[in-house]
């Protein structure tokens, strides 16, 4: 996956966020989103290891060994930030107080099931906060490429990888399109870049309804 593809997915996902929302960003593409948020779309970034109000990456002088995000990378805290313990942090998540979780996935199913923590045949020894986030966040936005590196579809009829949660996904943004899950049914709502409906169909094995009426620019 090229940086250009990642940036395009992040840029489109950024448009899903509304001013003032509390947002938890996963590792990878979701972490590119802040650079695509305009001054009118400021959100509050939550990191599950105990901070609301994550700021930009620190420069050399700002580095603080006690200040990291859930990926254990150095961060800064914005004015008005707050710190809390891990039980409070996940109470915020499960309790529906985090508006949006944006995260990557290995597979998303036609019903909005998500698999993003384990690959069959590999070690299943790290789950972190993945399950809590997809169950608890009010909206779950998945950012991922349409296919695996070997060309297998990632939007599938049923997840074959170990599930993270059932029916948790609201929006899927790939380099080709946007899907929305409405009442447990997948809808293709937007084509991105030069992609046409046939391009999406070619890399999507899940059944879906085509509903491009509110598509931007197509």
């Amino acid at each position: 996956m090229t940086d250009d593809v990642k940036s395009r997915i992040a840029a489109r996902a950024a448009q899903e966020l509304r001013p003032g929302e509390v947002v938890n960003l996963g590792i990878g593409i979701p972490n590119l989103i802040p650079s695509f948020l305009g001054p009118d779309t400021q959100v509050f970034l939550h990191t599950e290891n105990g901070l609301l109000g994550v700021g930009p990456r620190p420069d050399e002088e700002e580095l603080d060994p006690d200040l990291i995000d859930a990926a254990k990378r150095p961060i800064t805290a914005l004015p008005g930030a707050s710190y809390f313990d891990s039980a409070s942090s996940f109470a915020m998540i499960r309790g529906g107080h985090v508006d949006v979780a944006v995260l990557g996935a290995l597979q998303v199913s036609a019903a909005g099931d998500i698999a993003n923590w384990a690959v069959p045949g590999k070690d299943v020894l790290g789950v972190g906060g993945a399950m809590d986030l997809v169950v608890g966040a009010r909206r779950v936005i998945v950012t991922m490429t349409a296919t695996t590196s070997s060309g297998e579809p990632k939007v599938v009829p049923e997840c074959t990888y170990p599930l993270t949660a059932r029916g948790a996904v609201d929006v899927v943004v790939t380099e080709l399109s946007v899907f929305h899950v409405r009442d447990g049914v997948l809808h293709l709502t937007e084509l991105l870049g030069d992609a046409n409906a046939a391009d999406v169909a070619a890399v999507t094995s899940a059944p879906y309804i085509v509903d491009l009426e509110d598509s931007h620019g197509h």
Binding site: T47, E48, N49, G50, L51, D64, P65, D66, L67, I68, A70, K72, A77, Y83, F84, D85, S86, A87, S89, F90, A91, I93, R94, A118, D123, V124, L125, G126, V127, G128, G129, A130, M131, D132, V135, G136, P162, L163, T164, A165, R166
Partner: protein, 219 residues
Amino acid sequence: MTATAVISPAEAVSHVRSGDTVMVGGFGLVGAPLALIDALVEHSDAADLTIVSNNIGEPGRGLGKLLRQGRIRRGISSFFTSNPEAVAAVNAGEIEATLVPQGTFAEAIRAGGAGIGGFFTPVAAGTLLAEGKEQREIDGVPHVLEQPIRADVALVYAARADTLGNLWYRRTARNFNPLMATAATVTIAEAGEIVPAGALESESVVTPHLYVDHLVQSA
């Protein structure tokens, strides 16, 4: 006022006995009680330990040192993967792994310290991590029964303690420490700085001293 005793790291880890369950604070190495872990590695031969910690350290760092000594029998964690040596030890059958979603892990420790006999959470319902657990529908949503987690000894880190044992944490080094401080028979707090009672603003105390049995000054 009775001060909480400030003891040496070596004396502190004499409270850990073979077969014990030991909680260790920290998210990775941030907020981990590294002086206490080093003392456990150097001044204790307690083995057959069950370690309750979000991660099993990193290779050769923090709890990763204890792992290399072969003294961990079981790990209860949300993310073993941050230490590839822990993953290898699990795959080789050298340690038993109990993987718990991070929010469930935190809440189970909170429940353990708060006298709660378990709780139902929607997290992990219908997944591999719910296998063998009681499930119940609540308001039409599948939930999983999770048991509280307690320990014989908790090793926590706080940037500042007062001489009574009140604790104040700094930034994201707080994480699991205040929870673990409540959930063990013996809680030992390693503090970056120990100040006189009254020097911490009362409203800023995160862990009241009743939870803390011993203090250790960070190296």
